[in-house]
């Protein structure tokens, strides 16, 4: 099948690689930014630059195996970067714009639907919020021109695996003829699919929001419980396991920690919080977001209290800067807030991360205390002269360090475990002062 992919989100690049791999002819226009020209010259004189693999955004380049896979498909000729004019001829379109780029999508829909007689299926994976599919559908005049909403559920770090092997697929489309084409397109990836969830585009949008909000609420709740556990001296780990074994609850999204980050998750919740607040005057999700922001600083607060509110001239080590393991992305990561707080309190901050250091370096390059920030090649180097270690991202390589080397290297054997990865009992027996999240 011939499919045009538009937009620069991770799922655009992932879909390009995966659809091409399955033999489709993929025409890719990642940098489409609307068509601002009018009249006959419109498509001849497109302002949109033709992209190259090199133009992929950082999160795409960091995604394991994705660039290699894209290169293979380019080499094989099934994937092509094209101009707007070439790509608009396809019947199938796949949109993956940023939430703020609804106008790009609108402009694109107007462009491809100019001929109201042609058959058109536009699968939108961009998260524009509830009601956006209806707005896009309104650009179409022809009966055989359909918007389908397929929510983006890709986790950064394992995007390829999830795209190729989804557990379920939500398709917001109710036109049989269009569904037939969409199913055919997704068929190679649907061997293990438990459920095709078919619904209207509006329902699919709502489902996407509802799931995201639910997960956020679970995280916020377990974090709240963990903070209380700190105060009443019980171990949240025990509580969490017991809660999770109740089948009505389950284990997912019940790990307390120092807050969630990432490109999408907080952004989606922000959108949902806004919608709920406007339509229902509900502050539930805005509270979740506010609390999450506070939670990101939890390791800082524990350190602050340990040192009786004075961190001047302390050397503090941080392990893990990415918003989660397996990615270089620092988008909304707790490390951003913690480092800022430590620098402002006059700390020297020594950081380590297997992938995200360059991003952190760029992020803090204009900070007025940037000279207090040091980047270390190894996790142990980050511990030299350290008055305390904060673990912020649960990279596997941090799980079982050589404790003796840590004790020998650090000034003060203080460990603040923002992800509850260490065995508290063992750590304490070794002579560390240990603070977890709720334990």
């Amino acid at each position: 099948m011939k499919i045009a992919i538009w937009g620069n989100e991770l799922i655009a690049w992932t879909a390009a690689a995966c659809f091409a791999e399955m033999g489709n002819e993929v025409l890719f226009v990642p940098l489409f930014s609307g068509d601002h020209n009018s009249g006959e010259n419109r498509s001849n004189n497109s302002p949109n630059k033709q992209a190259k693999l090199h133009d992929a955004p950082a999160n795409v380049k960091e995604e394991p195996s994705l660039v290699e896979q894209l290169q293979q498909q380019l080499d094989a000729g099934r994937l092509r970067f094209t101009d707007t004019e070439t790509a608009q001829s396809a019947m199938l379109h796949f949109l993956a714009f940023l939430p703020k780029q609804l106008e790009y999508a609108t402009s694109l829909c107007q462009l491809v639907a100019a001929d109201s007689k042609r058959q058109l299926i536009v699968m939108n994976a961009s998260n524009f919020g509830i009601g956006a599919s209806d707005k896009l559908q309104a650009c179409f005049r022809g009966e055989q021109q359909i918007i389908a909403y397929i929510p983006d559920q890709l986790p950064a770090g394992s995007a390829l695996a999830h795209f190729k092997n989804p557990d379920h697929l939500i398709i917001g489309c109710q036109q049989e003829w269009a569904l037939m084409h969409i199913r055919a397109l997704y068929r190679p990836f649907s061997r293990n699919i438990n459920q095709w969830l078919l619904m209207s585009a509006r329902e699919a949008e709502y489902t996407k929001f509802a799931i995201t909000g639910m997960l956020a609420l679970r995280l916020a709740y377990i974090n709240d419980l963990a903070n209380l556990a700190d105060e009443i001296d019980v171990d949240i780990d025990i509580i969490r396991q017991a809660m999770g074994s109740d089948e009505r609850i389950g284990q997912h999204y019940l790990n307390p920690g120092c807050g969630f980050g990432g490109e999408h998750f907080p952004q989606y919740i922000e959108g949902l919080a806004g919608t709920l607040s406007e339509a229902r005057n509900s502050s539930l999700l805005s509270t979740v977001l506010e609390e999450n922001e506070k939670q990101k600083e939890l390791p800082f607060r524990k350190l602050w209290r340990h040192y009786d509110c004075d961190l001047q001239a302390k050397t503090i080590s941080i392990w893990g800067l990415a918003f989660k393991p397996g990615t270089a992305s620092i988008s909304n990561a707790p490390s951003l807030k913690v480092i800022d707080a430590l620098l402002n309190q006059g700390c020297k901050v020594k950081v380590h991360d297997p992938m995200a250091m360059a991003n952190i370096e760029a992020f803090f390059s204009t900070h007025h205390h940037r000279e207090q920030l040091a980047f270390c090649d190894s996790e142990m180097q980050a511990l030299e002269h350290s008055d305390g270690l904060l673990l912020l991202t649960e990279w596997a390589q941090y799980f079982s360090p050589d404790y003796q080397v840590m004790l020998d290297t650090m000034n003060t054997a203080l460990l603040i475990d923002g992800r509850n990865v260490f065995d508290k009992k063992l750590i304490k027996e070794l002579g560390f002062t240990y603070y977890g999240v709720g334990r």
Binding site: K294, E297, F300, R301, K302, L303, W304, R305, D308, C309, D310, D340, A341, N344, Q345
Partner: protein, 547 residues
């Protein structure tokens, strides 16, 4: 100089007053169509209209002659030059130095005090920046988002007034950009009985609250009692050492570093101001910290610039165009020659709701005196009784007395010509028009009486308006940090000019001391000590409590 009331200039004014009293204000208007042109004055965006005063345009010349007889120009020079104008406390009064732009010098005892001023502004800037960026941490490590000013008198009224007056000015950072941080919640507590503080403590989060103890002497009992209560409240909620608690939750502003130190305030949390700044002239100093927190440092500096522009006008403009001097001399005319002893402050702007309280202190604490600089009792009236209220609200309260009572009252109408931009709702913009119409209507009737009607004479006596209450209208183009700075500086200089005419020291306040001493003694008696030495009333009241 001999007693000013015996001078020929004083006598001339007395004679003029006897004549002019016979002629009601409405006649002055009908006789002289150029009254507004002759009696209204502008400085930048400030327009002051004296034409509704009860004098003829040329009376100002006599008043200026009196000021010259009192050597006003020399006194103005002395004030700015740092002379010991506060002779009873051997201090200059250099609030004008607080508003000097960076780079300008002000020398006092061989020292350029502008350097101290700029350094202190820099320190304020750093604190404000830390708090605005959420990097001032309370003892739990959470960011401070609420600041409570503990102060009284000059350490309370000025910042409180400015914060309310300019709250529509959004906080901006040093570069004038809108501050990203959510606005800091600011509160003011002053009352000695703790009632304001107790109410606040019920709703504030101790971990996110910072207190600013503002006291020039750092001994003011009202303030120190509130500070102690705040500290106790924090202690009950905190889990850290007392040193850390004070370091994270208290900033102090005082002219006494050693006393701040003794209370436990660490050096980096101390902001200084100086003996040469009077308490009621101190909102331009670090006492204005809350203003900077609420509005941003840039707005605070703009307010200083506004005041400085008025300082320069006051220092350089000839008396016949010198707005603070003319405002003062108009007051002198009303008080000393028309024998008016009451002065109403009527802001037609809800944002200036604290202006009356501020001016009550500024004027009555400065000039509420009856002994001149030579230590002699004066034989003329000095500061009148000031009071006031938002004009439109006062219309439903004490305007009855202004219109039909037996007391002569002089009135200041303060109003902003423009408010509410094109983004505001039509209704709100209409409210501003309504407000302006009321402001002009009231001053018109107060001055001109029912002569503004064609058929007033036919009304029964209880519906008549005699008019003749002299009114000044002070109109700002817009209420901004700059024009607000100008407005307040104008009143400060007005007070100084009147003190020069009356020959009194406006910068001390000995009249508030005795009460403090006596109260301290009575504390013991309330705790059960002998009350024999007291008057029967006080003894009886204490016994009624102790029974």
């Amino acid at each position: 100089m001999n007693n000013i009331s015996e001078s020929s200039q004083w006598q001339a004014l007395q004679d003029l007053a006897d004549q002019q009293r016979q002629q009601p204000i409405h006649q002055l208007f009908s006789e002289n169509p150029k009254r507004f042109e002759q009696l209204s004055f502008r400085h930048g965006e400030l327009l002051v209209d004296f034409s509704k005063q009860h004098y003829q345009a040329n009376t100002l010349e006599n008043l200026i002659a009196l000021a010259e007889q009192c050597e006003l120009p020399n006194w103005i020079h002395q004030l700015f030059a740092g002379a010991e104008v506060n002779h009873t406390e051997q201090r200059p009064a250099l609030h004008t130095a607080l508003r000097l732009p960076e780079g300008k010098e002000c020398w006092l005892n061989g020292e350029n005090i502008s350097i101290d001023v700029q350094q202190n502004l820099q320190r304020m800037d750093e604190l404000v920046h830390l708090i605005h960026t959420g990097q001032w941490r309370g003892c739990s490590g959470e960011a401070i988002d609420t600041v409570v000013n503990i102060g009284v008198g000059g350490s309370d009224l000025g910042p409180l007034m400015a914060c309310n007056a300019l709250a529509e000015t959004p906080a901006r950072d040093d570069n004038g950009k809108l501050a990203q941080q959510a606005a800091i919640d600011v509160h003011f507590v002053s009352s000695m009985d703790g009632s304001q503080l107790a109410d606040l403590l019920k709703v504030l989060n101790p971990m996110r609250t910072l207190f600013v103890i503002a006291s020039k002497s750092f001994t003011t009992i009202d303030t120190m009692a509130n500070a102690a209560t705040a500290k106790e409240w924090l202690n009950q909620n905190a889990n850290c050492s007392e040193t850390a608690l004070i370091a994270r939750h208290f900033i102090a502003v005082s002219s006494k570093p050693e006393k701040m130190q003794a209370w436990g305030i660490p050096k980096q949390n101390q902001l200084e101001f100086w003996e040469w700044t009077g308490g009621r002239y101190s909102m331009w100093s670090a006492i204005g910290l809350l203003i900077a927190l609420k509005l941003g440092m840039s707005a605070f500096k703009t307010m200083l610039a506004g005041a400085h522009s008025m300082d320069e006008h006051f220092r350089l403009a000839p008396l016949k165009e010198n707005i603070p001097a003319l405002l003062a001399l108009t007051g002198i005319w009303n008080i000393n020659f028309l024998n008016i002893g009451a002065h109403a402050i009527l802001p037609y702007d809800g944002r200036l709701k604290n202006l009356p309280a501020y001016l009550e202190q500024l004027e009555m604490e400065s000039n509420g005196k009856s002994v001149n600089r030579q230590g002699e009792t004066v034989d003329y009236n000095t500061c009148p009784i000031l009071w006031g209220e938002i004009g439109t609200n006062a219309q439903h309260a004490f305007y009855q007395l202004l219109h039909q009572g037996t007391e002569a009252v002089m009135c200041d109408f303060i109003v902003a010509a423009k408010r509410y931009g094109p983004d505001a709702s039509q209704e709100l913009r209409h409210q501003h028009q309504l407000n302006l119409a009321n402001c002009f209507a009231q001053s018109r009737i107060l001055a001109l009486g029912d002569s503004v009607l064609d058929d007033a004479h036919s009304a029964p006596a209880h519906k008549r308006y005699q008019g003749n209450q002299p009114c000044t209208t002070i109109m700002l183009n817009e209420l901004t940090p700059f024009t607000f700075g100008q407005l307040i500086a104008m009143y400060e200089h007005k007070v100084f000019v009147q003190s020069v005419i009356w020959g009194i020291n406006p910068f001390d306040q000995w009249g508030v001391e005795l009460g403090k001493q006596v109260a301290t003694k009575l504390l013991g008696q309330l705790d059960g000590q002998e009350t024999n030495n007291l008057d029967a009333s006080t003894a009886g009241l204490i016994q009624a409590i102790n029974q």
